[in-house]
Each structure stands twice: as C-alpha cells, then as structure tokens.
C-alpha cells in the first residue's frame, strides 16, 4: 500500500547533487550482478544485457550523449522540455491517447535531460513488452510536439521554475554553476529560465530531437526476463530507424572558475544554504578512485564522515552536510553543501574549510565500500552509467579490487590534486549574519 515517507534522520544529497552523484555517493560494487552480455542487434546496435528471470519484469535504461549542453545559448531548457514532450503524443496518438495506451498496460516510460545526456527509462511487465517497445518507438521516432501540449508543458515547467526561485538549494546550485562556468554550456540552467523557456518554439523541439536522438551517441542497458534474440528484435524495432549519426556541438573542456569567491544571495529564510565547489577529478582520471576514498571519509554518505561529525554531531549546526566528487563529461568538480542557522553560517563554513585542509593533510583511508545491487532497476541504471563513463564491461568485477588497492600514497597524491589549495567558490543563500554584505559579487 502506498507509503508516506516520514521524517528521515539524514538526507544528504539534494537537487543538483543527486544527478551528479550517481557514481560517487551511492557507490561500491558487488560482483553478484549476474552475467553481463554484450548484445549486438541485427541493425548493429549494442546493448548491455543481464538476464534475470526472477520476476516477470523488464527494465530498460538508455541515454544519448549530449543533453542540456547541446541547448542553444539563448534557449536553455530545450533538452529538458524536449524530454518532457516525447510522451505527449506520437504517431497517430495524441497526448491523451498515448498516455492511456501506457496506462492500460501499466508501462512506465519517462525521459529526462541532464547536462551531458538525454535519457529514457522503461519499466514493464514482460508480457506487455511488445506494446512498451512500440510506444517507445513512436515517442523516439515520431513525436508530435503539438502546440497544445507545448503550451501546457511550458506552463508546468514555468510554474516549477517559479517555485524554484525561492528554494534555497536550487538557487544556490544554479548560481554556483553560473559563476563556475561562465560562457560555457555547463553554466546554463538545465531547466532554463523564464525568458529562455518562454522562447522555445515547436521547430526547436524537432530540431533538437533530430540532431540528438541518433544511433551514434546511444547507449542501452537492459535487465530482466527476456530471451536475447527477442530483445535484439525489440531494440531494433524501437531504435534502428533513428538517424545514424548525431549532429552534436563540440563542448570544450572546462575547469570551474571564480574560485576563492564568496557570494551571498539574499533570501528571507531562517537558514543559510551553502553550496561550495572547487576543482575535482574526471571520472576516467587514474586518481579518481583514491579521491573517492578520501572524500568518502571527508564528507561522503555515512554518519561517520568528518563533516558530519564536526558540523552536525558535535556542534548541532546543520541537519545535512556533505561533499562529493561531481563528474561531468568535460569537467570534474569537488562539491558540497549544508544549511545552517543564519547567525552561525560563517562558523559552519569555517569548520568545513578547516576539515578540507585537514583531509588533505591526513589523507584518510579506511573501510570498504560495497555496492549492493538488489533491484534490477538499479542494475540497469548502473550498467548504463558504466557505459556512459566508458569504464569497461568488467567494471563490476574490478571495482572492489580497485577500491581495496588504493594505497595511502595514492590518496596523498589525489588529495594534492583536488584539495591542494582548497580554493572554493562558495554561494550562500539566505541572510548570513556576519556576511550580510557580499564580498564577491
């Protein structure tokens, strides 16, 4: 029966952090994933597949490289709106008919866009897979993008945008990216702003879909109860007719800017929400794993991290405090945040900065980091992630060994690279007492 989530003791990653954190916060590996098969369909599409007949269900996760970084500079939010529009009518079906077809077979189909990818997810009972792949095919190949649906979805995105203007986490995250990546696609809001959303036209949605939804930039992961030959047939049914090659703008490599700056954004709330970030490491960097291990101790997802103990447990300054390594295709960041009472925001920030310096000096190395895959949905999602990050099909098997092989020397080396001068760009949203005047700006 439906449950209502109650008050959790600890919720450490929110908003933008969530999307980026997949591989850092929730991590660790378990060899028990089942055999990963690399399927090649008759049309030549590659699929990573784990057969699991325990339950009569199928989880399909796929992604096209590109995402919101492909938005035109003055049309931030285009990828996001395209994602919201793909299930709003396709082929002969209008939006309502399309949604009813999904519901009649209890098919869940959704699209989303983040900075680097445009993603889709399907969950379906095995017996309804033909219908699911047919609706998937229609939505990818023949979306209608009707004006009525565009206006309706735009209104919903604008309403959410307006709500986000007073959500301190969202305000801080947007401001951080804008300041860290000026004149780069990463600096723009994935969901756009009032002006850019209002300016998106129907032809732009078609244009985005045509350039971005192609076979050359597609990665697919499937877990569930199905024969591989049957799966290959269905994958081709949905994806084979897409254009062979995506037309993607080249995104330059970039490092976070404005480091050392502190900026206050005024919002009349009883807390100050702090988002900080500096130079990190990219996912494929050889020092990523030692950096991950170090961050786990500093501010990763446990109740015994240094930040958790110093900021929360000892001083009661915050409910939530965390740090993580955020990895984008063209940049690596070390990021974190907290929310604390206005009159002690400066103190909280100071403690965090001290802990970062200490972490560099001490080069923590403890514990093991197991990843528990107990659902086929999670396996499918991680399989896709491994493809996107180009970590290799044997990554699940290698990962624990790689973590355990991290030495103190490795951690020291990594610490020098990402915590070295611990220069951070800090955004504070609220009315922090001693910092009420912006000293950055």
């Amino acid at each position: 029966m439906p449950l209502r989530q109650a008050s959790l003791r600890h919720s450490f990653l929110k908003g933008i952090a969530m999307a980026l954190a997949l591989f850092t916060a929730s991590s660790a590996a378990d060899a028990q994933v089942g055999k990963i098969e690399r399927l090649k369909t008759p049309a030549g599409i590659e699929v990573w597949f784990v057969r699991d007949d325990t339950l009569p269900i199928l989880s399909i996760n796929f992604a096209f490289d590109g995402g919101a970084s492909q938005d035109p500079a003055d049309r931030a939010g285009l990828a996001y709106m395209t994602a919201a529009m793909l299930d709003e009518g396709a082929g002969e079906l209008n939006a309502k008919q399309f949604q009813e077809r999904l519901e009649r077979r209890a098919i869940s189909l959704s699209y989303n866009a983040d900075r680097d990818t445009f993603r889709g997810t399907v969950r379906v009972l095995s017996e309804h897979r033909d219908e699911a792949f047919e609706l998937l095919r229609l939505s990818l190949n023949t979306p209608r993008f009707e004006q009525e649906a565009i206006d309706r979805i735009r209104a919903s995105i604008l309403a959410a945008y307006k709500r986000s203007l007073t959500n301190p986490d969202e305000v801080a995250g947007l401001r951080w990216f804008a300041q860290a990546f000026p004149n780069h696609p990463y600096g723009r809001a994935v969901k756009g702003d009032e002006k850019s959303i209002s300016g998106i036209e129907r032809s732009m949605l078609f244009d985005y879909a045509k350039k971005n939804l192609a076979r050359s930039n597609l990665k697919i992961a499937v877990v569930g109860s199905i024969e591989s030959a049957e799966l290959a047939r269905l994958i081709d049914h949905a994806f084979a007719k897409l254009p062979a090659k995506a037309e993607l703008a080249v995104i330059p490599e970039v490092k976070p800017q404005s480091l050392g700056r502190r900026e206050v954004v005024d919002l009349n709330i009883p807390q100050t929400t702090i988002t900080f970030g500096g130079i990190g490491l990219k996912r494929k960097d050889p020092d990523f794993m030692p950096a991950f291990v170090l961050n786990h101790v500093l501010g990763g997802g446990s109740f015994s991290s240094r930040l958790y103990r110093e900021v929360r447990e000892k001083r009661g300054l915050a409910y939530s405090v965390y740090s993580y390594l955020a990895t984008l295709d063209h940049s690596g960041m070390f990021m974190g945040g907290t929310s604390t009472r206005n009159d002690r925001a400066a103190e909280a920030l100071q403690i965090i900065e001290e802990e970062i310096v200490r972490a560099q000096a001490k080069s923590y190395l403890t514990g093991s980091y197991l990843l528990h895959f107990d659902t086929s949905a999670k396996v499918a999602s991680q399989l896709l992630e491994i493809q996107l990050q180009e970590l290799g099909i044997d990554y699940f098997e290698r990962r624990n060994k790689m973590v355990n092989a991290v030495s103190a020397e490795d951690v020291r080396r990594a610490a020098k690279r990402f915590l070295a001068d611990s220069k951070l760009l800090v955004i504070m949203v609220g009315r922090p007492a001693p910092l009420s005047k912006s000293n950055g700006g």
Binding site: P2, R9, S156, A159, G316, T375
Partner: protein
Amino acid sequence: MSAIAICAAAGSAAVLLPGTAKTQPQGLQVSEFKLANGMEVVVIPDRRTPVVTHMVWYRIGSADETPGKSGLAHFLEHLMFKGTEKNPAGKFSKVVATIGGQENAFTSQDYTAYFQRVTKENLEQVMTFEADRMTGLRLTDEVVLPEREVVIEERRTRTDNDPGAQLAEALSAALYVNHPYGRPIIGWMHEIRQLSRENALDFYKRFYTPNNAVLILAGDIDDKEARELAERIYGKVPRVADIAPRVRPVEPEPRAHRRISLTDQRVQQPSMSRYYLVPSYRTATGNEAEALEILSHVLGGGQTSRLYSALVVEKGIAANAGSWYQGTSLDATRFGVYASPRPGTTLEALEAALDEVIEKVAKNGVEAEEVERVKTRIIASTIFSQDNQTTLARIYGAALTTGLTAGSVKEWPAKVRSVTPADVQAAAKNWLDLRRAVTGYLLRPQQASPEKRT
C-alpha cells in the same frame, strides 16, 4: 509543495497476486512468527543478491506523544544514534560505514523505524547492535543538546524555509480538531526547544521494548536462518514495559468547511490544496479504503486523470493538478487534492473548476474503463515492488505498525480488484464532502495583480 509531493510520489504497493495468468511469479514466501518476549518477526526472502535489509519498527510515532511534547518521537529517533552502555556513540555507525552498509531511520505519526542494508555475513553484527540499543540507550546532555539543535535546523530546512510546507503543516493542524495527527511529526518549534534528555529517556522506557517492536528481514535469508538469528539475538532482550492499546482522541464528525491562507513574499507560484478527513485502511469498512485509493488515481493520478484532463488540458487554467490518499494510517486519515493556476487564473476560479470535477464524479460516477486502467496499474505495482527488498520491507513494516496484518497486505490486490465503479462513486459521495475538508491557499502579497513582481 513537499508534503504533497511526498504523498503523491509514493506509489508502491503490496504483494502476491492470487492468479494473474502468465505474469504470476512464484510468489513471495513471506513468513511471520513471534518471539517469546513478544517481538514480531516478518521474513521476506529475495535470494538474488547476498544482501539483507534489516529493519526494526516500533509502534510509536508522533501521535503517541504527550500534548506539549511534540517532536519527541522524532527527537528520540535521532538520539538512538548516541550510543549505549556497551557501544559508545558513533560505534554502530562506524561499523556500518566500514562494512560498506547503509543505514537510516525514520519517524511517522504512527511508527519509528531503524534500518541497515548489509551483505549477508554482516547481518548478525548489525542485529546485535540494534538489539543492544533497544533497551541500552545512554544519554548525556553533552550529546542531547547539540542534537536538539540539529532537529531545529532540520525543521527549518524542511518547513520554515518553505511557505508550501508551512501551508501543508497548517492544513493538517486545521483538519484535526481533536486527534494528535494535527501535530507535525517534527514538532512545533517552541516545543522542540523545550525537549530534554529526561523527556527522551522517559519516552524511550515507555515504548522501546520488544513487545512493541516488529523485526523485518528482507533479502538473502530464509525463515529458518531468520528464526535462529532472531531468537538468539532479539530473544534475549528483556520485556521492559507493558504496552497499552493505542487509543487516541477520536475526531468528532466534522461539520464545517474550513479555509486557511498563507501569504508570503517568498511565494512566486500560488497554489491551492485541500485535505478531507477520510477512513484509513485500518478504520475503513469493506473495501472503502481500496475505493478511496482508486478514486485518488481516477481523480488525480497522472495525465489521464479527471483533474488533469479538465483543469490542465481542457480548460487550460492550471499548470498542474492532482490528488492523493494516505491510506496507511492507524486512525482517520487524509485525502488531498491540489492545483496550481496558470497566469491569469485566480485561485477562486481554479477551486470552482476543481469542485466541478469532484461533483461530477460524485453525481455521475466514473467509467468502468477508467477503474480498470487504475487497477491494472496498482496491481502491476505490486509486482514491481517485488523487485526491491527495501520497498517490500517498508510495506510490511508500515502495515504492521498501523493496525494491519501481513495477511491484509497479501489480500490487498484481491480487494483492489473487488472495487466497482459504483464503489468509487460512493467513496467520492460519502467522503469528498466539503464539511469534512480544509481548503488552503498559498498566496503572495498583491495577488490581485499576478504579473507584478514582488
């Protein structure tokens, strides 16, 4: 609107389907037993990976607090991580982190629960820690006082930063005129500030005892292994208190529609929401609760629902609209409807359009096809829920701490199937009555000129 998002998003469901043709999986072999000290145990095997979700649920929540001590159940939940006679503060969490496990805890109006997800070989260790803190908690002001500050910050983060959350809190407070569900789980700020170490320990001693607890083991474990471990570890925990029946003040029959509004500079997007006082799974008769569940989907569960079709698509006056039902609750519960206007529409006009949709359902009923579609989704969700041991554990834990049984969880899909369109219409007629409701507006100042920036 966080409260609504939380309720509306939680669409998971129960288990084991009696007879659906070829999709029928083996079925869950859920077993139940009771230890000599009164602790109940539910075992939900899922052998796909060597991981076990271990949860201990207490039949104690914010609605069991003494008036004037709101937030105490949740505060104690935080303090349960502060160490025992045997294990100093931080040791349990450190072990969980070191073995690569996950842990957390949560509090609702009716229950408080603690959980870890660990690999099988580590299960015994976390069970031993959890059993130890069932009666061994040790608290000093040195840890209690900073943790109270943490809870105060939590309240600010969840509620005080967000006018929408404040309106949701005010709606519940207005809906319940006699029953403690009107209090926020996290507590009122002025009362949180007064909570003491003694309050927490008194509460702990009254309610944390094996005869008030349910152990859920979900994952790579069978009934036999579970029995052996549970008896050896939890079986030793002494029964330290007798638990009286959970009888809370009952709501009088509501007679007056109430209206509240919250106006705040921070509101950029106005909205309205309404709560109705309705039966829960525990208090309902027949398949009334299942009918309310289906009604919440037909009325406001997604893009094909009545509210979305009428307000967002056809009339084009709303940016979104929907409804939800919080059925898992020991006492009379809430059914919610909500909508946000598009620019140019007033909340009054939006509310009138919403009322029209509800009246139409109550008067003319719903289509058989709509009800079938919803049933298909609900019943499929019971199969999807089997993909996730933590979801299953939570379904059983919540049921057993809100007056239901494991049997009722198993029978749920059959009861959902038994609901007819006439039942859904009756639910709308009987329960979505304005006299049972509180309607709330979230406004920004100078609502009259909605385009003006504040």
